[in-house]
């Protein structure tokens, strides 16, 4: 619908108001258009990323162990549970074993492990099998994989845990008022 008044500024105050509205709406188009362009660009980047890495986000220890030959020194994410008693601090980081489905892989991690790194916790490790063929996994990035289960920290466990944490309310009755 073409609603532009053909007369110039002599059409009075209403016409001027309209003219300024017209200019404003032309200027308003830019950010919206820019937004659509940005959305399309970032959207395609995200989709490519999703197809590339989200679907095979990690390999479990047993799978990686079985595919060791074909994997070579290719970088991938390894998922497994930290074996209790295997953690050794090294000069450049920490070494430990990860297990999944009864298979274990020794890991040499370079860099400080995350705060919540501990035995029996599931971890994702980014890295590759050692070039020497020793079967060791060289990890450069460690991510802790938490489960969807939440448990209240108990008072006796709190004592050996962090300082600065609040004392928990000792109750497990849902909906109980303090």
């Amino acid at each position: 619908m073409e609603l532009t008044p053909r007369t110039g500024p002599d059409s009075g105050a209403e016409g001027e108001a309209l003219a300024s509205k017209r200019v404003r709406s032309k200027r308003n188009r830019l950010p919206a258009l820019a937004m659509i362009v940005v959305v399309l660009a970032v959207g395609s980047f995200v989709v490519v990323n999703a197809l590339g890495s989200a679907t095979t986000f990690y390999r479990n220890v047993d799978e990686a162990s079985a595919q060791r030959e074909s994997l070579g020194v290719k970088r991938f994410r390894l998922q497994g549970t930290v074996v209790a008693g295997s953690i050794v601090q090294t000069g450049e980081g920490v070494s430990f074993d990860v297990a999944y489905n009864g298979v274990e892989i020794p890991v040499r991690h370079v860099g400080d492990p995350p705060e919540m790194f501990k035995a029996d916790e599931a971890v994702l490790l980014e890295g590759n099998f050692d070039a020497s063929g020793s079967g060791e996994f060289d990890s450069t990035l460690m991510i802790i994989k938490h489960s969807e289960v939440y448990k209240e920290k108990e008072a006796d466990r709190l004592q050996q845990a962090d300082v600065g944490g609040k004392m928990p309310v000792a109750t497990s009755v849902p909906g109980a008022t303090p």
């Binding site: 705060e115 962090d162 600065g164 944490g165």
Partner: protein, 43 residues
Amino acid sequence: MNWGYVIASWIVAFGALGAYSVATVLRGRRLSKQVPPEKRRWS
């Protein structure tokens, strides 16, 4: 441990909700004055 992240995320959430709420209400007040009362059918 980690109270910084907890407080930061709660501040982000409450701050964003508060800012958006205030902006929405203020804009509603401003636009209400430009619209004839018979078209504002809530009260």
